[in-house]
Symmetry: C2
Subunit: 196 residues, 2 copies
């Protein structure tokens, strides 16, 4: 790994933390450079434009989510355990955030849902990837006979994901510990309702 690649990684780590609290737009090259003790222009040269920096941040955030939430869940046995692990890891991702400001992609979703361009495309792609992972796991749970055969996979995914989105929003705003048991009970109910 060359010097440039190493520095780039360090920059992205800090940029990720900054984005999580201030948003993709709030991310600023000047203060980012300050926190890293390097010059604006030196940092800038690694990305070529602010938009490319933001895109790199999004991709890195998606990697982090995959490493923390998705990948560990995929090591669970296929079927219901894997579905449960996905939701459980997602809940833990919110309860004990790796990044100080919570999930940058969810924040960026709302920040950019009205701003066409490559950044919104990136966000859509990452969210769609997550949806496909969840739907795949649910479908396999049906195939394994853990969930009812007549289950509407898209509907199930929507409800589960909505609960996680809503939980994140409520928990982050109010820091109310009750939200944890609410979302757990809700997910549990969702699964229980469609069990064979």
């Amino acid at each position: 790994m060359s010097k440039g690649e190493r520095t780039r990684a360090v920059i992205l780590d800090q940029a990720l933390a900054m984005t999580s609290t201030d948003g993709l737009t709030g991310l600023t090259i000047g203060t980012l450079a300050d926190r890293l003790g390097m010059s604006k222009s030196g940092l800038f040269a690694h990305f070529g434009s602010k938009e490319m920096l933001q895109a790199a941040v999004l991709d890195r955030a998606a990697e982090l989510f995959a490493d923390t939430v998705v990948r560990p869940a995929l090591q669970q046995p296929r079927g219901l355990p894997r579905v449960l692990a996905l939701f459980e890891n997602w809940i833990r991702w919110t309860l004990h955030p790796v990044l100080p400001g919570g999930c940058p992609i969810q924040a960026a979703s709302i920040e950019f849902d009205d701003r066409p361009g490559p950044l919104r495309d990136h966000i859509r792609q990452h969210q769609e990837d997550l949806r496909r992972v969840i739907m795949g796991a649910v479908r396999r749970a049906v195939d394994e006979g853990h969930l009812r055969a007549d289950l509407d996979v898209e509907q199930f995914a929507f409800e589960g994901m909505s609960l996680c989105y809503g939980f994140t929003q409520i928990y982050r705003l109010f820091q109310d510990p009750k939200a944890e048991s609410w979302v757990r009970l809700a997910i549990q109910g969702l699964v229980e309702r469609h069990r064979t």
Copy 2:
């Protein structure tokens, strides 16, 4: 109504639209003044600081939500009809947004959940108000015998609100019309499950 009050209202209308697409932070006094054909300083004098402008925007947004979603629902007969109207009006608020960029308060929730200060306090207050309205309606539906007596009102409110939050996020990002039937089915299921 004095000239000043009238101008202030016009400013807030435009500010609301701008906030809905660009966020509370993206709201800018210069471009806001440009769109209204007035000077920065003239506009500025109405609010004294950007933070007070932002707070006024939040309060106006809450009024708009109350006029569009809550107030019409409160005219439905108490009990289940009122609960259903609350969720239905909320869904319609997302499907046919009064403001071009969707609900500014939901956006501000995520934007400011990590930034302590009077603005976050405002946001918390408005979100808490909504939660109390919904819980009150649900509780009355229990009292009227429309919903089961052993229903956990807080849990019910969390699930219903999460579905609406999640729906907004998904629908605004992807503009997928399928999301509409997903959320309707989910809300319907939630209610059906707790009916007497």
